[in-house]
C-alpha cells in the first residue's frame, strides 16, 4: 500500500533543521518541483492550521503532518529523516527524527485514512523507527519502508 505511493525523489535526509514548518515547506516544494501538486500555499496553510491545533507528533520520534485539500490530484506521501532531531512540539516533548507528510484530495478520505493508519502502525514498531533513524540514504529509507509495509 505505502510502496506504491512512495517516490524516492520525495524522501529527504537532513542532518539538522530548526523549524518544523521549514521542513514541511521543503517537503512540499519537492512535490511541487515534481509537478505532483498544483499550488503550495493551500497545503502549507492546512498543515499549519492542523499543527497549531495540536502537534501530529503522536508516536515516539515520529511526526505525521497530514491534510486533505483540493490542491493535490492524488494522495501525496513525502518522508524526511532528520539525523539530529527536530523540535516538533510533540506531546511527549521528545525530538522528532522522522516526518511523514501525507496530503490527499478532499474526495479521497478512505484512502487517506487507510494510509495514515498503516503508517502509524508501522511507526509504532521500534525496529522500524530504529532502522529509519540509522538510514543514511534515500534508497535505504525506501528499502526499509518496503520491508515493513505488510
Amino acid at each position: 500500500m505505502i510502496e506504491e505511493l512512495l517516490d524516492e525523489d520525495l524522501i529527504l535526509v537532513l542532518d539538522s533543521i530548526e523549524d518544523k514548518f521549514k521542513l514541511i515547506e521543503m517537503m512540499v516544494d519537492k512535490a511541487l518541483s515534481k509537478g505532483l501538486i498544483m499550488t503550495r500555499e493551500p497545503i502549507l496553510h492546512k498543515i499549519r492550521e492542523r499543527e497549531e491545533l495540536e502537534s501530529t507528533g503522536v508516536v515516539e520520534g515520529i511526526a505525521i503532518p497530514h491534510a486533505r485539500t483540493e490542491a493535490v490530484k492524488d494522495l501525496l506521501l513525502a518522508v524526511a529523516v532528520v539525523k539530529r532531531g527536530l523540535d516538533f512540539q510533540s506531546l511527549d516533548g521528545k525530538p522528532v527524527y522522522m516526518v511523514f507528510l501525507i496530503v490527499a484530495p478532499e474526495d479521497a478520505k478512505k484512502k487517506y485514512i487507510n494510509v495514515l493508519a498503516r503508517i502509524s502502525r508501522m511507526c509504532r514498531q521500534e525496529e522500524f523507527r530504529t532502522a529509519l533513524k540509522e538510514a543514511t540514504s534515500t534508497s535505504e529509507i525506501l528499502k526499509i519502508i518496503r520491508e515493513f509495509d505488510i
Binding site: R50, L53, I113, L116, A117, R118
Partner: protein, 145 residues
Amino acid sequence: MERILLYIVSGEMRSSWDRAIELSKSLSASLFALFIVDQEMVRTISKLRGTDEVDTAIEIEEEGWKYLYHLEEKAVDNGVRTALFLKEGNPINIIRSFVKEREIELLVVGYKRSAGREGWKYGKIIEQLIEHVPCPVLIEKEGGR
C-alpha cells in the same frame, strides 16, 4: 474543564464520539482519543478464527488507527484540539494510568448492549472503569436513548 478522554472501542460507538467532541468544543477542552489493543481480545479472536495472534494484533491495531483518524477528522472540523493515542494491554490499567498521567477530568465511553461473551466482557470493563478511574465517567448510550 481542560482535558477530556474518549475511549474508542469500535467504529460503532459514534454517539460517544459526537458527545466527546461536543463537550470538548463547548468547554474549550482538549480531546484525547485512546484506542487499546486488548491482548485478551486478540487471543480470543485468534482462537475463534484460527489465525496467528500477531496477525490479529496487526489487524486490530490498524483498525484502531482508522477509528482514531476518523475521530480526528470530525474533531478538527469542529475546531477541537485533538491528540491520538494507541496502546496495547489491559484496558482498565491503561486507562487508569492515562487518566492519572494526563490529568484527565472526564472520561467518555460508549455503551451498546450486545449479546454474547464480548457484550458481557465490555459491560464488565465499563463497571471496572467506573470503579477504578479517578475521574467522572460519562457513559453515552449508543443506538437510541
